[in-house]
């Protein structure tokens, strides 16, 4: 039993060290990777690249720009500054610039990988979509969807049976298959108006559900056969062109147009929600779809008909390819972490070191431990397990073995 308890302790120590030592290493030696900020210019039909680390602004041909010139090339992004400077042009591409139109067309959307793989609430407020009031009001009850939809009064914690039955009936009537895979909406009063929720049911059917004058509004959205959505993000843009961005299991990006419920696929490739961040800047002339991964950036400039105008991509060495990463790889055979920037869940995130440069240190530590045992004149056969642990886990195992020493056989 003592031997088993020791091996358990060695295991716990290895696990702890595999979390702590790499973390300390990166805290000491990690250097930030400053990703370029890239936007399509409607003025010269080229991408403008702001390299924050170097402090320069260039286009894809290598022409350099001052801050003022850069802002003038991106008038939709820096409209306020250009207004102050008096440099906002009257027309662009023959279209007269009107502040109301500019404001209406401007949109920004951001989705990080860790927002997709994250705990989600089980209850949501169903706002009154046509209250006749200037601002939205938080309802007294919240809904959950299990084998039906329940509305629960927050102050009494009691199910509102009549309302629950009314909404459940409306959903059943439209062919809703309980329970749900995702409830997507904007559960806040800080939005221009309420459009309820887009709900994916257990059969991957898509429904638009909201409350109008206290009554349920349920609309089933026609989805092409075989198309399955894995994630939906509702938006509240001033131009009211679409309800949401929808991400398919093939990593395609769709929008759901407002009122006519058409699914429009955007011609974007290379977006993986598991390890990429997505930013979408919309304006009067273009949509800039920016995909940021650990080692590259891809930018798609779309026109207002969602057709590709131009694309830009750039890559850089990942952490492991840089000097500090190579040193890390020669010390640590793996890294364990309880958190990840790709998820909000706590898990045991194990990342094995790429390559085998850590083998040399493992062998060195193995030799040191071997000499240590030899000098103590112990029976080496009884330390084979320890030697194997060091050979595999390297520095983690070496420290663990020496913290929890094997003296059972002496």
């Amino acid at each position: 039993m003592e031997k088993i308890s020791r091996y358990f302790l060695v295991f716990i120590a290895i696990l702890t060290l595999a979390i702590v030592l790499p973390k300390l290493y990166w805290m000491a030696f990690e250097k930030p990777i400053r990703k370029p900020f890239v936007l399509f210019s409607c003025m010269n039909n080229d991408f403008m690249i702001h390299r924050i680390a170097e402090g320069n602004r260039v286009d894809t041909k290598g022409n350099k720009y001052t801050l003022e010139e850069y802002e003038q090339k991106l008038p939709m992004m820096f409209v306020q500054q250009l207004l102050v400077s008096g440099l906002l042009p009257d027309t662009i591409k023959g279209i007269g610039l009107d502040m109301h139109d500019i404001s209406k067309a401007k949109s920004f959307f951001r989705l990080k990988a860790n927002e997709i793989d994250a705990p989600v609430p089980d209850l949501y407020p169903m706002f009154e979509s046509k209250s006749g009031r200037a601002s939205l009001e938080m309802p007294d009850d919240f809904f959950r969807i299990t084998w039906r939809i329940d509305f629960i009064d927050a102050s009494t914690n009691k199910v509102l049976e009549d309302k629950s039955q009314m909404f459940s009936g409306a959903l059943f009537h439209k062919g809703f298959a309980f329970p749900v895979k995702q409830i997507a909406g904007l559960p806040t009063t800080r939005k221009s108006c309420d459009e309820g929720y887009l709900i994916l049911d257990s059969k991957d059917q898509l429904f638009h559900v909201k409350m109008i004058k206290g009554k349920p509004f349920v609309m089933k959205v026609n989805i092409p056969e075989g198309l399955k959505f894995t994630h939906i993000n509702c938006v509240d843009f001033k131009n009211k062109s679409y309800y949401a961005y929808l991400f398919s299991e093939k990593n395609e990006i769709y929008i759901l147009t407002q009122d006519d419920y058409q699914l429009v696929k955007w011609p974007i490739e290379g977006y993986n929600p598991k390890n990429c961040d997505l930013k979408i800047y919309g304006d009067l002339f273009n949509y800039n779809v920016i995909i940021e991964a650990e080692d590259h950036i891809k930018v798609f400039a779309l026109d207002t008909e969602y057709k590709i105008v131009d694309t830009y991509s750039e890559s850089w060495p990942v952490k492991a390819e840089r000097t500090e990463g190579k040193v890390f790889a020669s010390i640590f055979p793996a890294q364990l972490s309880m958190t990840s920037d790709k998820s909000k869940f706590i898990r045991f995130y194990l990342a094995l070191t790429i390559g085998f440069s850590w083998v040399f240190l493992n062998l060195l530590l193995l030799a040191i431990h071997f000499i240590f045992l030899y000098r103590r004149k112990v029976n080496l056969k009884k330390h084979i397990a320890d030697l194997c642990i060091i050979a595999i886990t390297g520095i983690f195992g070496f420290i663990a073995i020496h913290f929890f020493q094997n003296k059972f056989f002496e």
Binding site: M1, A154, P187
Partner: protein
């Protein structure tokens, strides 16, 4: 003989156990007093909203309570055994050394579990009044690692206290101190869901950790 050993353990930990349990229950009572206050002043809908969408964790004030309980019970149970090496008397009893130790340990861990269950029960009981089952489940997923951390602290303090060599006590403290922080991260509510099973298994493996240092103690490791 077994009854006498259990009685001895009970004498050592009883006031700490009763005190911790009472404080724990009072702490949970205070917690729900703040919930009641929040409901009264902010309204139920706003209180729920802050929990569901603004990351408010009403249960956060009890985060370190189980850890404190585990530490207190372990110190109360094992520290007296190291004064003048009294535990040697236990090892001289006509019983298996490991069996006696495991009995002591099981009693301590069982007492701690009983105390935790009482506190947990009060927490769950109050929760039912204010929150639907989904919100309670998310809260429980978040607080389970804190209670496991209490057991980890109990097991590791036993390991450290019984270790005869100060240098190794420091090493164990170092590993244990970092290890317990795994259980005490501050993520979103219910984020511990995928990790809880693994954490439970790790906690269980530590339950026999004291056998290692007790062995070193018995063999007179210097």
């Amino acid at each position: 003989m077994w009854k006498s050993i259990i009685y001895k353990e009970w004498l050592k930990i009883r006031w700490f156990l009763i005190g911790f349990t009472a404080l724990g229950i009072l702490g949970v009572g205070y917690l729900f007093l703040t919930v009641q206050h929040g409901f009264t002043f902010s309204g139920g809908k706003n209180y729920w909203y802050s929990i569901l969408f603004m990351g408010y964790q009403f249960f956060n004030p009890i985060k370190y309570a189980p850890l404190a309980g585990g530490l207190a019970i372990a110190v109360a149970q094992y520290f007296p055994e190291t004064v003048n090496k009294r535990i040697k008397l236990t090892f001289h009893l006509p019983l298996g050394e490991n069996k006696v130790l495991l009995m002591m340990h099981a009693f301590g861990a069982g007492s701690l579990l009983f105390s935790y269950l009482l506190i947990f029960g009060v927490f769950a009981g109050f929760s039912i009044f204010y929150f639907p089952v989904q919100m309670i489940t998310d809260s429980i997923i978040s607080i389970v690692p804190w209670f496991l951390a209490g057991f980890v602290a109990y097991f590791l303090v036993a390991l450290v206290v019984l270790e005869p060599v100060w240098k190794f006590r420091f090493y164990y403290l170092l590993v244990g101190g970092f290890f317990v922080t795994i259980y005490l991260q501050s993520p979103d509510t219910a984020a511990f869901g995928p990790a809880n099973t693994g954490l439970f298994i790790l906690t269980a493996t530590l339950s026999i950790a004291l056998l290692f240092s007790a062995y070193r103690f018995r063999k007179g490791e210097m």
